[in-house]
């Protein structure tokens, strides 16, 4: 780890990506992720990489497809409306089993929505987004440091499982500055080989094909089933979750990203008042920490759960599935770019507890 510097979340993601060996970035401008692309535009040429501003998000994600298929560590970034445009490409990338990293600095929707922070793209990120049976690995950092740490993980896991990974931040995480320390820079040539990539046969091997088209139903089903097996392995091995004060907690919050750090402050406030609150913070949204939540739901100590989100209630569906009826699951959320403070969360929590 190097000395800490102050950096915006967007810039930290870009710097950490380059340090992870990413040398190809294709993007299209959109608020509030602009600083990420700007940082790449400035740094990539100096560090032997390629930055290209595409004509659209659609073109950008397809350039990612081409570069990923050609064996490169590659990424793109955007914000909600742009991510909607990328969905076609993301589905093809998943269908062709290509690794890449996609950043979504979420803003309020639907439509053009707003430009202030939101978490209303949870369904889109975790339940597919594009067409077909597929998943992304979805990481939800809650600080600038965690953004920097998770992007290397996202690249490595994407390569390991040959699938796209998404970092889901929001306008606040992208724009805010916090101290951050970076990992040592990795040499792109030191990354694991990709023997499946279209690097040219050099007349030494059979040709490689990057493709998601299978016109025989049996063949497509078999391939999809193989992918589902991989997903099963991921669900067993790649869940990341942080628990805070849950050991004896009666009220357990579930929150991720920006709102999780605010909820953590709410837990502290409630504890000061003698209310036993705790927080489960999913760091991976897919795979979702179902077991960790169920374990707390099944325990005697817990009385109720509360999902806190910057949306009208999306992750709560996964929380309910995880709790599986063991305890009541309540909701508190703001949306459209509104970010609730800890006092609002505390107030809402008390209402439910006093019921």
């Amino acid at each position: 780890m190097e000395k800490k510097v102050l950096m915006k979340g967007n810039e930290a993601l870009a710097e950490a990506a380059i340090r992870s060996g990413c040398r190809f970035f294709f993007g299209y401008p959109i608020t509030p992720q602009t600083e990420l692309a700007a940082y790449m535009a400035k740094q990539m040429p100096k560090r032997g990489g390629t930055f290209l501003q595409a004509e659209s998000e659609i073109a950008a994600i397809n350039m990612v497809y081409g570069a990923a298929g050609a064996g490169a560590r590659v990424m793109t970034s955007s914000s909600s409306p742009g991510i909607s445009l990328k969905q076609e490409g993301i589905s093809y990338i998943a269908g062709a089993d290509l690794p890449c990293v996609i950043i979504n600095i979420v803003r309020g929707g639907p439509g053009l929505g707003g430009i202030q922070p939101a978490q209303s793209d949870y369904f889109q990120a975790t339940k597919g987004g594009g067409h077909g049976d597929y998943h992304l690995l979805v990481f939800a950092p809650s600080s600038v440091q965690e953004m920097a740490d998770l992007i290397g993980t996202a690249f490595d896991k994407a390569d390991q499982y040959r699938m796209p990974a998404m970092i889901m931040g929001d306008g606040m995480l992208g724009q805010m500055m916090e101290p951050v320390a970076f990992q040592e820079e990795r040499d792109p040539s030191s990354l694991p080989e990709k023997p499946w990539a279209t690097t040219g046969t050099m007349m030494k091997r059979k040709k490689n094909i990057i493709n998601s088209l299978y016109l025989t139903p049996e063949e497509l089903e078999n391939l999809n089933n193989d992918r589902q097996k991989r997903y099963q392995t991921i669900m067993e091995n790649e869940v990341r979750v942080e628990e805070y004060q849950t050991e004896d907690a009666e009220l357990i919050f579930v929150a991720y990203g920006t709102i999780a750090r605010i909820t953590m402050s709410a837990v502290n406030m409630l504890r000061e008042e003698g209310i036993k609150a705790g927080l489960i913070r999913p760091i991976t949204l897919w795979p979702f920490p179902t077991e960790a939540i169920y374990a707390r739901a099944a325990a005697e100590t817990s009385k109720a759960f509360m999902a806190v989100e910057m949306s009208q209630g999306q992750m709560i569906e996964d929380v309910r599935l995880a709790v599986n009826g063991k305890k009541p699951v309540y909701f508190y959320g703001r949306n459209g770019g509104m970010v609730p403070d800890q006092e609002a969360i505390v107030k809402q929590a008390k209402q439910y507890i006093c019921k």
Binding site: K4, L6, T31, P32, I115, Q116, G171, M172, Q175, M176, M177, E178, P179, T258, R261, I262, T263, M264, S265, A266, N268, V339, D341, Q342
Partner: protein
């Protein structure tokens, strides 16, 4: 300890930079810090602000709804944030640019002709640093030496003269 500070003014007055300077000093002093700018079309409209939090505990929300300190460098900023300041809080305004008094009597108000003082000292665009100096004087957030050291640390060597000038301007606000 937690201090929530809003720096607000027109774009070009250096409110974001003043906030960054404080945030860096806080980081170097071993505190938890966050810095959050206003962004989007708001920026184009001419007003800019940033929220800085210094704390000895992990920071939950970087959004400040009730600042402990408001540093206002234009009238719209004073009007926008005056009522949000906590009772007992501090409002510092550039009296050279704002021909208005703080209406509340439950906050401490400091009037300082920052732009004018900065101009006298050699660069009228550094009123932001004079204002920061005044804030450091009126609230015990950080040792002033710590702030100077931090500025030296985080200014590229090629711009050492600028660091000296910034320190000088902070000192004007701090010594007044």
């Amino acid at each position: 300890m937690i201090q929530k500070i809003i720096f607000a003014g027109f774009g070009g007055q250096g409110v974001l930079f003043a906030g960054k300077t404080l945030a860096y000093a806080g980081m170097d002093a071993g505190l938890q810090i966050s810095w959050l700018p206003s962004y989007g079309p708001e920026m184009r409209g001419g007003t800019a602000n940033c929220s800085v939090i210094l704390s000895d505990q992990p920071i939950g929300s970087p959004v400040i709804t009730t600042p402990d300190i408001l540093i206002a460098m234009n009238k719209p900023s004073l009007e926008k944030f005056e009522n949000a300041v906590v009772p007992g809080g501090l409002i510092i305004l550039d009296s050279f640019l704002i021909d208005k008094k703080v209406a509340r009597d439950d906050v401490e108000a400091v009037y300082i002709p920052a732009k004018h003082l900065a101009g006298e000292a050699g660069n009228e665009n550094l009123g932001n640093m004079v204002m920061l100096g005044a804030a450091l004087k009126h609230r015990q957030m950080l040792q002033i030496e710590m702030v100077y050291k931090s500025i030296e640390e985080h200014t590229p060597k090629s711009r050492a003269a600028l660091a000296e000038l910034n320190k000088k301007m902070i000192d004007i606000g701090y010594s007044r």
